[in-house]
Symmetry: C2
Subunit: 284 residues, 2 copies
């Protein structure tokens, strides 16, 4: 079985793919779109991509692709803690520039201001690319903010551990595929969820209110609602709604009612949520 993930090696998504499918062959792709396209071209059996971070919010590349172009759905979700490390080629060297993904730079900004007030920050396409760049230029006075897995992957040393600003930092990863995967028992099953994309007829206030009514009066609990631009005109949106899949029968009636209200529904995923056993996140 082949599993594709957002690479390169040493990324958080790589870590999640390894945890979820420890015995499968795992293939890194350069972008989220490339991973999903690889699945669509039947090069891989499952695709692992990030979908939402507790601080930075949704990963638009994933959700927009699934809404606009994809027929593929999420069949499992892994909620994974994000811990950032300051990595260097050689410990205790002078650091003039820190490389990382913009979100990781934002998360490490408070630490850098306190301990390295004069460093410059440079954006890279991912945390793992930053780590690879530092490994490839061992003589430069640079560091990377990246996951621990990147240190062993690229032979870097940890200059400072867990430098992220907010402790409670998690990312939701989706496993996309045709059927529910057999997930490693090192991960614990938690909730069952459904993710929908709703496209409303005109008149946002009334239509969204009616759409939410179909869930509210059935007692179906939402865990997320978010608008995304339809990419047609400013002010036109679709809505991503996550809900707890506790009453599948009631949900079918809600779908029918949404349809009769003129609200289009696309199922982005219907999935078991998994968490790491070790950190007591079973309730998520």
């Amino acid at each position: 079985m082949l599993v594709g993930y957002l690479g390169p090696k040493g990324s958080f998504t790589h870590d999640v793919a390894t945890h979820s499918f420890p015995t499968s062959e795992r293939i890194a792709y350069r972008t989220i779109t490339d991973v999903i396209k690889a699945y669509e071209n039947q090069e891989i059996d499952f695709a692992v991509v990030p979908v939402e971070n507790s601080i930075e919010g949704s990963v638009h590349e994933t959700l927009d692709y699934l809404f606009h172009q994809g027929t593929i759905q999420a069949v499992a979700e892994v909620v994974y803690p994000i811990k950032q490390q300051l990595l260097v080629a050689k410990k205790d060297r002078l650091i003039r520039t820190v490389y990382s993904h913009p979100q990781a730079l934002a998360q490490g900004k408070a630490f850098l201001r306190a301990h390295y007030p004069n460093v410059a920050m440079e954006m890279t396409a991912s945390t793992a690319y930053a780590a690879r760049y530092v490994a490839e230029h061992p003589d430069l006075e640079i560091a990377a903010i990246a996951p621990l897995a990147a240190a062993s992957e690229y032979g870097l040393e940890v200059q400072a551990k867990d430098i992220q600003e907010i402790e409670d930092n998690y990312t939701r990863f989706w496993i996309l595929g045709a059927k529910e995967p057999a997930i490693s028992e090192t991960l614990s099953p938690a909730l069952q969820k459904v993710s929908l994309a709703l496209t409303l007829p005109s008149n946002l206030a009334g239509a969204l209110y009616k759409g939410l009514s179909t869930f509210a009066w059935r007692g179906i609990n939402l865990t997320k609602i978010e608008s995304r631009p339809l990419k047609t005109a400013l002010g036109e949106y679709f809505f991503i709604i996550d809900l707890l899949n506790e009453a599948p029968d009631l949900l079918q009636f809600a779908y029918q009612e949404l349809d009769s209200l003129g609200i289009q529904t696309k199922v982005l995923g219907q999935y078991q949520v998994y968490t790491l056993k070790e950190n007591g996140m079973e309730k998520r």
Copy 2:
């Protein structure tokens, strides 16, 4: 009067600041947070920052700062068309690498695939930084995707014009300040709007539904609703709601009702929307 904007010179925000305040002194700042902080430190009278793009969605740095840390409000909005140019130091040279902000790279991807299928794409912190980099390295085989204003600012040539993928691409810019500014008559006043941030008590489905009810049954039209992570735990959000300010009295009653429902309301802005006269956007 001093006006701060998200720089560097040649950025879209610079263009908007120039259009809005043609006779004022204008000062570039490096990040959105820096512009807002400059206003808070009374270095400038108004701050011009981007808030939402019709394709990429909200500018989180602006909205998160105003919600979490700011006491400053939007006092005017400018809706501005985004047109991207492929800029080079010397026309018709070989191009191996294209530099730009990730959103501009995304918008130019279809054009590049069709006309320059083998170029590499490199991210920069802004489109204007990309233009400046190309100008500073005239001997490299590189190009930038940037606004037209950046070409004259940095002495670059336009290799290809209006390469953005989707024609209907606009960005909303907010002018932050203490009072309504006198906006240049080259911009046309359009709608009056209010932007709110709502923080709900627990039970998302019921609370959001009730919150929207306070607007729906008064016929107050929403033009946007979006959830943003509260940065506490995964699954906790605040909501940004834009509405048409057509019945200020009714809105006051809605505020009171939200308060009695336990929903906290923070006003992010109350403003006149302006559009460019030339492109017939008066209805936005």
